[in-house]
């Protein structure tokens, strides 16, 4: 049961986190392909994927050298910073303090920026760089999540599977509709991912410090419930009496 809880929560967290990141990268690559050339889009994407693969090949063996308790502690701390950042933004979005992430808007902005560059001599290069940057930056977050939640329990393969399913789903849906995947409930997904990552963080930081959690891996679900209740209350408390803020950097 515990094993099933760990495996399923690892796959689900990896899938959801990867899904929202890949949707964002897909929007930019699509904008590059439709505004400039598909060659620029694919070249930028391929180069970014090569960099990501190199990162995995370098980081993977290095992590195996780290003792498991130290690894759990470091991963727990990093996941805490990463997860609480997601959760904070998701709460502020849900309560209306920062704008919701909008793929249509991101697509429009990228398309406009690329259109302005079209007359320049380096337009293809700049478009390729835009695709490269988007895939690399979103991809780094995917790699971090997969390695972080997979490495501490030796479940990197399951975490990778979650990311792979997300990748196939997004690309498949994108090829079908040929437009940004704006109907994906990204903001709600980000809240769930923030909750999951923060729950994993508490669990592993504790394990790294020698805590024997009651219920073992099942404690992750308890943390998820606690942070969910906290988020629901906070969102409701914050909702009235706010003004819209547009300057905040959106994920």
């Amino acid at each position: 049961m515990d094993n099933l809880t760990t495996i399923s929560s690892t796959i689900l967290t990896s899938f959801l986190a990867s899904f929202v990141e890949i949707v964002e990268a897909f929007t930019i690559v699509l904008a590059v392909g439709l505004t400039n050339t598909w060659r620029s889009a694919f070249t930028g994407t391929a180069l970014a994927l090569i960099v990501l693969v190199v990162m995995i090949l370098v980081l993977g063996p290095l992590l195996q050298l780290v003792p498991i308790t130290a690894l759990q502690f470091v991963v727990g701390v990093l996941l805490g910073l990463f997860g609480m950042r997601w959760l904070r933004k998701a709460i502020l979005r849900a309560s209306g303090y920062i704008p919701l992430h909008d793929e249509e808007k991101a697509f429009r902005e990228e398309t406009e920026a690329l259109s302005k560059q079209r007359g320049l001599g380096r337009a293809d290069y700049l478009a390729m760089i835009a695709a490269f940057k988007a895939v690399l930056l979103e991809g780094v977050e995917v790699v971090f999540v997969v390695i972080a939640i997979g490495s501490t329990h030796g479940l990197t393969l399951y975490a990778s599977l979650g990311a792979l399913i997300a990748c196939v789903l997004v690309i498949g849906a994108g090829l079908l509709v040929h437009r940004p995947l704006a109907r994906v409930p990204e903001n709600s997904l980000k809240l769930v991912v923030g909750l999951m990552l923060t729950s994993f963080s508490v669990f592993w930081t504790g394990e790294g410090l020698g805590v024997s959690w009651p219920g073992e891996d099942f404690a992750i679900i308890v943390f998820f419930v606690i942070f969910s209740a906290f988020s629901a209350v906070t969102i409701n408390l914050l909702k009235p009496g706010h003004k819209s803020v547009t300057k905040e950097h959106v994920l």
Binding site: R88, T234, G241
Partner: protein, 72 residues
């Protein structure tokens, strides 16, 4: 070089958005670690403090942001 600077900035941004939140979280983890390792605090109590601390830090961060952006 510019692209490397952007990537570096994004990497840091992956973990640090609200600087105070990151600082409080690291301080909490350091304090709980010291208490467990050197002051013989029961690890389970330390774990409970981590959960409570994370909740308090998140609450402080979102309320601070909300207070700054409140309609006066």
């Amino acid at each position: 070089m510019k692209i490397l600077a952007i990537i570096w900035e994004e990497l840091i941004g992956m973990f640090i958005d609200d600087g105070a939140l990151a600082l409080f979280a690291l301080a909490l983890i350091a304090a709980v670690s010291v208490a467990i390792k050197f002051l013989d605090l029961d690890p389970l109590v330390g774990g409970g403090l981590l959960v409570a601390g994370y909740l308090a830090i998140l609450a402080e961060s979102v309320h601070r942001f909300a207070a700054k952006n409140k309609v006066s």
